[in-house]
């Protein structure tokens, strides 16, 4: 492959956006794994973690499809040697995909309700990339510096490394209602895939996501009927009214617990 584009999603992401988006592309467009990065040196291997009763293990997979000019990467976020890891993944993408640009996918927790369309921002890492994104939803007026006590995302680090190597890139930040941060946000995934569909002419049917969005919204309506507290909080978010720290946390926990009970139904 020459002149391909790399799309990256991380398994730990707000609204599970990265992994969900890569998974959709993989299933719909017939991508398959062609390389993996061994976890040694990048992840703690003193044992495994268990999540939802299932043993977890860090995986870094590159995917390709003979019918596409895209390379995909779905990976757990490394816990050490970040710079070496990011360079290694770009090395692989350059060597096997001759990549000319890279996109990172990241969910961004926002104080918005699930009843409004998700905002998607594109943050290019170069002037060239900015020009190539003209006409898309750009956050051209965004000025931001990581606040004291917080750290940049791995996506920002990756885009910086790509820039140092002369690779054009952009971060795709989708706003996720904060109370959907720990569950899949199908609406944000749909917006993300629509962007790639348009940019690369993928012709991908995102209809299945409409069904998931509709099921999730239906469940949230049920929750609002059952729980006055959740309903009141969501109403206030819808009306741009503030919530206390406690209300934030309680709503996030309540929604996550409720939706997790219907995980299979949503999927």
């Amino acid at each position: 492959m020459k002149g391909s584009s790399l799309i990256i999603g991380w398994t730990e992401d707000t609204g599970r956006l990265g992994a969900q988006s890569i998974d959709s592309l993989e299933r719909n467009l017939g991508f398959r794994t062609f390389a993996e990065i061994e976890p040694v040196g990048f992840f703690p291997l003193g044992g495994i973690t268990v999540e939802d009763d299932v043993a977890q293990f860090p995986v870094t997979r590159f995917l390709w499809s003979p019918d596409s000019k895209l390379l995909l990467l779905c990976s757990a976020s490394p816990k050490s040697e970040w710079y070496r890891f990011l360079n290694l993944l770009l090395d692989i993408a350059v060597r096997y995909g001759g990549i000319r640009e890279v996109f990172t996918i990241g969910g961004m927790p926002a104080i918005v309700a699930h009843t409004v369309p998700r905002e998607v921002y594109l943050i290019p890492n170069s002037e060239g990339m900015e020009e190539s994104l003209q006409g898309n939803t750009l956050s051209d007026d965004l000025n931001y510096e990581t606040p004291e006590g917080q750290r940049p995302t791995l996506n920002s680090f990756l885009l910086w490394v790509a820039k140092r190597r002369g690779i054009n890139g952009a971060g795709l930040w989708a706003s996720i209602p904060f109370y959907l941060g720990s569950v899949e946000d199908a609406a944000a995934c749909k917006r993300t895939l629509e962007f790639f569909n348009k940019r690369y002419g993928l012709g991908m049917d995102v209809g299945e996501l409409d069904e998931r969005i509709s099921r999730q919204n239906g469940l949230l309506s049920e929750l609002r009927k059952d729980s006055t507290k959740a309903d009141t909080c969501i109403q206030r978010v819808e009306s741009n009214l503030s919530l206390s720290d406690e209300e934030f946390e309680e709503l996030a926990v309540e929604v996550a617990e409720y939706l997790k009970g219907f995980d299979d139904d949503i999927r």
Partner: protein, 306 residues
Amino acid sequence: MGIKYFSEPSLRKPTMIASWPGIGNIGVLAVDTFRQMVMAEAFAEIEPWDFFYPKQVIIRHGRLEDITFPSNTFYFKKTAKKDLIFFVGEEQPSELGREYAEGRKAYQVAELVVEVARKYDCERIYTSGAAVAPVHHTARPRVWAVPNMASLLDEVKRYPNTIRMSDVEERGGEGSITGLNGLLLGVARKHGLEAVCFMGEIPVYLQGLSLSYPKASKSVLEVIGKVLGLSLMMEPISRLAARSEREIESLYNAFPPEIRDQLDKLKYLGHTTPAPSEPGPITEDDKKQILEEIDKFFKNKDDKED
């Protein structure tokens, strides 16, 4: 991976003074205060990306402009008496969520610092950190000194307000120095360079709190000034120490009385204040109980905050 030089100062047998953050930020505060005091000039830095996760992303007008990393900077100052090199690390290159550097990265960073020391023909390196001790915050912190060669022991004994590990009850001259403030001693020794670590005492009950402890930094700075034969302006750090002591005092007064009673016994433990007839000398059992009570107190406090 390496060192980026902004300039190449001409220095004559300089002394290097290095530190990274640690418990109470005692060492780094002492060294950085000293650096600022003499207005030392930056001349090199360790290229950070191999060792650190970025600190900040900067986005301007919608475009990712840059990323910044924790700084690890070398400074120099030529004085009439002595040429000095300072190294101040903003963070230790920890891995997998550990607080202190260890393993390959820590070793590489220590090697890079020693590389600069050797390049400029440094005659000695001083590092600084914290010594967690059963002492009271109202006492003047002593400075534990650990040289990296036995030949330096006699000299170290003569430093003011300084003790060695063997002077500390039950230690028998043994202990450990966690992280790069300690590791640098070993790497310097490997290269045949003399080095001494100065550790300011911090009360055991303050070690788990994310508070700086400038009172101990001041003790360290006093020793370093004496050792180098330099007269240092202590007012700024004295002011900082006084302010911090007031804050610690109000925290202390918030402790439950039974814990405070136990902690008060530390005032009479050891070197500073003779024990009055009441409450009686502290025993080993008391010491153990004090630490257990403090642990319990902070655990309960954390649970409530959670």
